[in-house]
Symmetry: C2
Subunit: 133 residues, 2 copies
């Protein structure tokens, strides 16, 4: 089963390499952190705060490219947790079919918050169970 989640917190520390984002259940209280890099954390944070950039940043470029190729960004799926690494997919709709592109959760979530409206984020029940255990 796929559990709808939303980005609930971003914790950026300038003295640490590792940054944290938290995903929280849309219809419940379960929440877990994902460790990401400073670039992706900053990229997510800027978008959540609606900072406008005069030029397209990297995740804007990705979103614009998908749109100009006639495809549509659909959703983000975090489907696996293997040895402390989360695996995500960026789901894209092209000609009525879904295409899943392998991504780090940080990039997938940065894309999710770049899109207007934001893309829904799903975490598989097994990953959620493991993440909060």
């Amino acid at each position: 089963m796929q559990v709808p989640m939303h980005l609930s917190r971003i914790i950026i520390s300038e003295i640490n390499e590792q940054q944290f984002i938290y995903l929280r259940e849309v219809d419940g209280d379960r929440e877990f952190p994902i460790v990401i890099g400073i670039f992706e954390a900053t990229s997510i944070d800027r978008r959540v705060k609606n900072f406008e950039s005069p030029r397209p940043l990297t995740h804007d470029l990705l979103v614009n490219t998908v749109e100009q190729l006639g495809a549509e960004l659909d959703s983000v799926h975090i489907h696996e947790l293997r040895e402390t690494t989360y695996y995500a997919k960026l789901r894209i709709k092209l000609d009525g079919e879904f295409i899943d592109v392998d991504a780090r959760p940080s990039d997938a979530i940065a894309v999710a918050v770049t899109c207007k409206p934001r893309l829904p984020i799903f975490v598989s029940e097994e990953v959620l169970d493991e993440a909060i255990s």
Copy 2:
């Protein structure tokens, strides 16, 4: 006219915000620097040095997405210089037609060096004239 250029140098300074990449004429001696951010400079540097990452990094995700959508990355064009800002296009081939996506030169060049083989980089003669003047 479009002048073929190649990435000749990457200068990363950890004490400065601004990093430099240099583009040099393939069939000549003209060379000029472009100021870019640390993330993009690091991303370009890793690829030039063939560092392998266990998971797709942001520019890998962009390249993989284009390929999975059935399109082909073709080339990078730096076509304008306006008040010290360079403007680039990422040219993509889809169903026999070219689509140009507006990009920062740093992202476009990071994509160029992520592709195997690398994408050709072109700078318009007017931009080159202005850049080296």
